[in-house]
């Protein structure tokens, strides 16, 4: 009787632990280390424009036991878009191009995660969501790689326990789709914009 009670308790405890581990976690992508970045590249016949954005925030809910249920929203502050040439940066932020004063945020909000494959701690798949730039929202699907780093938060931020989630994505958008000088200056400013997202989010545990 005693033995069966012990087995029952052990099983219950294991189920509880497993349940606790399997719970979806919310990862905050406001990076205290300032490493998170989105790189953009426009390769036109006469000019190549390369820059990056660092003002990244947002949250993603990820369940390591059910990666396909991933959902969240990533926000980039338009003002944080930087190129090395000061005049180019001024033009980029200006009313003719991104108009960062009127449209301060660039966002991507996920809707679904398909073709999900998980190997060890890395999950790949195609994420579909709404991408909003300069006030125009379009649905897009892009391949994404999500790496779940369990208990690695303390290695990055000493004194904090928790997990990390690294998201990498590469996709291309057409600037005319987002009303960014459609059909103009295509010899100097490429009509397509390549975007590379490399971001890490943290889920601290009490």
């Amino acid at each position: 009787m005693k033995t069966s009670s012990a087995i029952l308790l052990t099983t219950l405890a294991a189920a509880l632990v497993q349940g606790a581990c399997a719970a979806p976690e919310t990862f905050d992508f406001k990076d205290p280390k300032g490493v998170n970045n989105a790189v953009f590249k426009l390769d036109a016949p006469l000019e190549s424009v390369n820059g990056s954005a660092s003002g990244i925030s947002g949250t993603v809910v990820f369940d390591p036991e059910n990666p396909a249920a991933l959902q969240g929203k990533i926000v980039v502050a338009s003002e944080s878009l930087t190129v090395p040439n000061p005049m180019q940066k001024e033009h980029l932020h200006g009313t003719n191009w991104l108009d960062v004063a009127t449209y301060p945020l660039i966002t991507f909000e996920s809707k679904s995660f398909a073709n999900v494959k998980t190997t060890d701690n890395a999950t790949t798949g195609d994420i579909t969501g709404t991408f909003t730039l300069k006030g125009v929202s379009k649905e897009l699907t892009t391949p994404v790689k999500v790496t779940y780093l369990k208990d690695k938060l303390s290695a990055r931020v000493p004194g904090l326990k928790g997990d990390l989630l690294v998201i990498r994505a590469h996709f291309t958008i057409n600037r005319e789709d987002f009303n960014i000088q459609p059909g103009h200056y295509e010899d100097k400013v490429a009509p397509t914009i390549e975007l590379d997202l490399s971001i890490a989010g943290a889920a601290p545990q009490p």
Partner: protein, 84 residues
């Protein structure tokens, strides 16, 4: 005066071209900051930060060449002193 303008034009041309070449002969536009990449060992993400650095580009070179040409051209406005 004519000679002074010509020497100044030559110095400006050499100075501009020299600065551009020494700074790496950047064939893009002038940059006032350069991206510096740092690897986050935990996540493997390459962080990008911009550090202030003046990197003259083709616009800097062009402006220098144009200014030297204007100075050189202006030198011809001065008449040669008549030799007696």
């Amino acid at each position: 005066m004519k000679r002074s303008f010509q020497i100044l034009a030559l110095l400006l041309l050499l100075g501009t071209a020299g600065t551009w070449l020494i700074a790496g002969a950047n064939r893009g536009w002038t940059k006032t900051s350069v991206p510096v990449k740092t690897l986050d060992p935990v996540t493997g993400i390459e962080g990008i930060s911009y550090q202030p650095k003046f990197l003259p580009g083709v616009d800097f070179l062009g402006a220098g060449v144009l200014a030297a040409a204007v100075l050189g051209g202006a030198s011809f406005l001065f008449r040669k002193k008549p030799t007696v």
